[in-house]
Symmetry: D3
Subunit: 245 residues, 6 copies
């Protein structure tokens, strides 16, 4: 089974980190291909970045689909590794294979191991976007809070710097009722273990959750429904960038 | 006062129609500038089109903003003329001036003239997207139903063809509790009068509603809040297309 | 265009203040007629006052309607200037012209300029009433909080006294997620500018919002739907006061 | 124990019918005093009537309270016998004794004997008002539907005429999921038995439910909370009618 | 009228206390029979206890039903005296007479005497269970908060020990908007008066509320609907314990 | 990895069918142990059965836990194979390993492959119970409908008999907006393929979904949170049946 894992920004180092996390989580026999969009923002922090990222990721998937249709290596599922980012439904429409967004993936698994979950994310400006993403994915009901740490996406690398803000945000989520923590950024994968140790709570990372859910759908032969919202795109003229279609 | 009205697709004829409707609705002294994105889908029908359109419209607005910052004609507000399309929050983040999306605009006015409203739209594949757009805009509570006519965006021109499907969809909305009808496509502007006559119900068109709401915000000196979700975008590297930034 | 703006209480000085705010906000060519009910409470602070006020305002509108039907000056819309007060739906039923309540008006515009809004009002006893009014108007979804300042309606005149309570209430609304502030009392119109300056947030006043929304509906030819909840009242015997009908 | 049961309209015959139903339902030792407002509509059918009725009923209760304070016979609770009519919260604010509205009363008991209940009411114009009343009373969650029969309030007398419309409305409520029927008009009391026989379902009448709930509150020493929304009215000038205060 | 009041645990002393509270609350002529399950937990604190208790209480009711069918003393209603415990719907299905759970009973009466109510309960581990019970009973809308005191079910006896935790929990409920307090444990009956005196708020005890509501249903001839969710159990083989059926 | 799959009733043939479905779905290396409760109903059809089943399944798990603690074969996760049945939260409290209920499992996967899902179940009496189970699991938001076929649990064996009712129920779910079908009974596993072929929609079976989700949790090292609702049971006297503790 081959799963594409798409970074939502153009920072290759982050794709590498996400890909590594995905590989660690994957079942034996699953091949993970990490992909970086050719355009878009260097990090997705806010709505403008998110919509730009969505189009760039869809462009990336469109090209992968064409490549595979032209005899390239096929893929069995896609994991969209941008926490709270847009594009999910467009990818479902575009592709025949299952598409799992790490936002919803983390929430789905979190619901199974606690009565309420809390999301710990980067900047305050992202919390509303994550709330909307959980809401439209149908998994907001058991979300107790989405809490910002104040850390930028590209500051997460340094554990010495991020430990205290993560702990403070976790404590706020617990006060709001969280029994499980969800890491609200694809770049936080590395923080799960330490945070779990410090809080005594299960910590769900969306990338690893997304990989396992994608594998599950493929194993069970489940694909995106084509009878309603996610019918295949209508054939029409679409220009994907100012220069070429 | 100058208001930009952005079409969500690349079809110039539709921009012309939207611009004409906006001009008819504008107060004396308001200048309407209709804009067509340089890229994106020729019509937005579904999630893939919508996300592509969102990035293209944001690219368009980014250029208008730079042009105006470079001494070009300033603008006072933006009306996003794509019913149910994405991008709204990104435009609010990007710009200092008020941004009104025709989806929410129509719903806001509809709530003032009836207890429940119903949206009449084009294809079945768009109803879920419109529901999500109303939900995240905070105006879904009084929406009785979103009903598809089965007509494509570019088939709306012909009244002979569209009259019966519109009437059937209106009747279904009424059975679901609608007391006001909302035209769920920027291209339906021309149908409002006939539909109102046939149903005896008020019919709200998003383009005209959007123009009046944008004027109201400008007249009252109200601008998008910069303290929370819609803080100005962080400075960073963003590539808006494969070829150039 | 002539718009009636009805105070919800019998205090003429407050009618004068509301009328002045409405005139400042109105478009050129709009004539604002401020009206005071002939009976009811001297200020509306709580449910009892609100229901008494609702009947007195409906009585007032009934008389204006008769006066206009008898050849008096016609009016094109009504703005109900009682924040959180009852009566809105009765006025819609009674009149053929659009009716806009300042509670919903402020909320509608607030939704367009921030992801969540907070209402700053007078006494603690009024917060529940305002919550119910927003809920039944269909605009409660994006309300982060309704916060009382502890100031009585007739204490708002003195800026020296009201500044600190308003600021404290605004801070509480922000903690609850508000990105936009709504002034939750018709008598607060004068406080908007200072509060906006102090908080750096947009501040929406219902009276001015109501006038602009009423103008918008009239300009677009939109009237209250007569097909459902707001059908014209059935002819019957109604006694409007113990002495005379 | 003495319970006041207030009709919401000025039709004495309806007060008599309501009072009789209340007496049939009351426990031994409970004295029912049926009261008719001195002013207001002859029947409450729509929002205008409802707000007029609310003020008239509050005026009536204010007078009863003064009478009792002046040494007249005291009362222990009030039942507001207008289904879906306004005023409930004002009466709670005004009085020290418990106030039960027949709308909520019927819903509370219905929730105890079935998973979902349906309301059968008079005219289509009243359904939205009843929905709002259930919502603000906190008992809308288990309401499957509010269905109109098309019968006017004053047409309910004639069982020959009302039987078929009631049965049709009941069937529609069942299709929507109702397991219990609620009679959505104070004037329908007489229809409960026949409707229960015909449908095999329990049928809850608000007047009788209201009496029993009021008795329960009094017996348990429970009174309206005075710490929040329903603090006693502030002393102030209130004019209850054009002629006198 | 004879009402069975079932304790949810095997502690006879608690049955005695509940029975006494029920008798105090009952109308003249009502006979209260307090029952203790033959098996189950000694106190119900958490989900495991709750499900075990539910089966044991249903077993108890099944035996009472058989006893009564075999010529034993009949009963007219059942009050389930386990706050937040499971089993309610099963008892409705099993029996022809009305079944009232003290959780919902307290909430129903609380809604009639304040705009929002707060539940004060024992351990933190029970709050989620109570929230779910209120939600599925259709009375969660007006619940402001469920607050734990930290007291175990069997520690409630000692007023010297429980007074301060109860007061602290009450204060937290008030901050969340509660205007009425609900005692969230059948063993708290004795605390109502003191808590009401200390807080100035009405305090609702579920046992007494349940008895009065059960009496009301019986008096009005209202029984559980048999047309939907609560149809009589299908005849089948059921083994109620490892040893015998 | 060893996963216990518990049937909710005492019918061994159904355990066998469920176990076979679980084995087909499990990843290589997963050992499935199908278990039948020693007591409870022969099929779970309604609330009474469900609560009886919950206690019996918890008794079963308690014994397995003791067996394993006493040196018996350990297990890594539990799948509760009763669609819409109670007990889920009790099992989470009881055990250290992850617990997945097939109701929620099917809903979680269904949300990933369509915008709305519909549940097809057995008898009309079960629909409300399933709705409540989805609601308290936090996955009801995207459920379009729960539709009964009219087939009893033990009638599902015969495809000739069940095909038409399943198809009719599926059509009703689609009319309500479903884009994905969920099989609402553990005994329907065998019907998935035929139903998918007939409807062109993805069909999710809870047993297979549950197995894959349980495997995912185990693989990711995620266990039930012990910090809130699902703290380990308090040590106390619990009698699991009339004869012995």
């Amino acid at each position: 089974m081959r799963i594409l894992v798409t970074n939502c920004n153009t920072t290759e180092a982050m794709t590498a980190r996400i890909t590594a996390a995905a590989r660690d989580a994957a079942a034996p026999g699953t091949v993970i291909s990490g992909l970086t969009p050719a355009w878009g923002p260097e990090s997705a922090e806010g709505w403008l970045d998110s919509y730009l990222s969505a189009a760039a990721v869809l462009d990336l998937l469109r090209r992968e689909r064409e490549r595979s249709a032209a005899g390239g290596e096929p893929f069995d599922a896609v994991v969209l590794a941008g926490f709270g980012e847009h594009g999910r439904e467009g990818a479902r429409e575009l592709l025949d294979v299952p598409v799992v967004d790490i936002t919803e993936a983390a929430a789905h698994l979190a619901c199974l191991i606690g009565r309420r979950y809390g999301v710990i994310t980067t900047l305050d400006r992202s919390t509303g976007q994550i709330e909307d993403s959980l809401l439209t994915a149908g998994v907001a009901d058991h979300c107790a809070a989405v809490v910002a740490t104040g850390l930028g996406v590209l500051e997460l690398d340094d554990p010495a710097r991020s430990a205290a803000p993560l702990r403070r945000a976790a404590a706020e989520a617990v006060r709001a009722g969280a029994e499980v923590l969800v890491l609200g950024c694809a770049g936080m994968s590395g923080c799960a273990e330490a945070l779990a140790a410090r809080t005594g709570m299960p910590v769900v990372d969306g990338v690893t959750a997304g990989v396992r859910l994608a594998e599950s759908l493929v194993a069970l032969g489940l694909r995106t429904s084509r009878t309603g919202s996610y019918r295949a795109p209508l054939p029409k003229r679409r220009i994907w960038s100012p220069q070429h279609g």
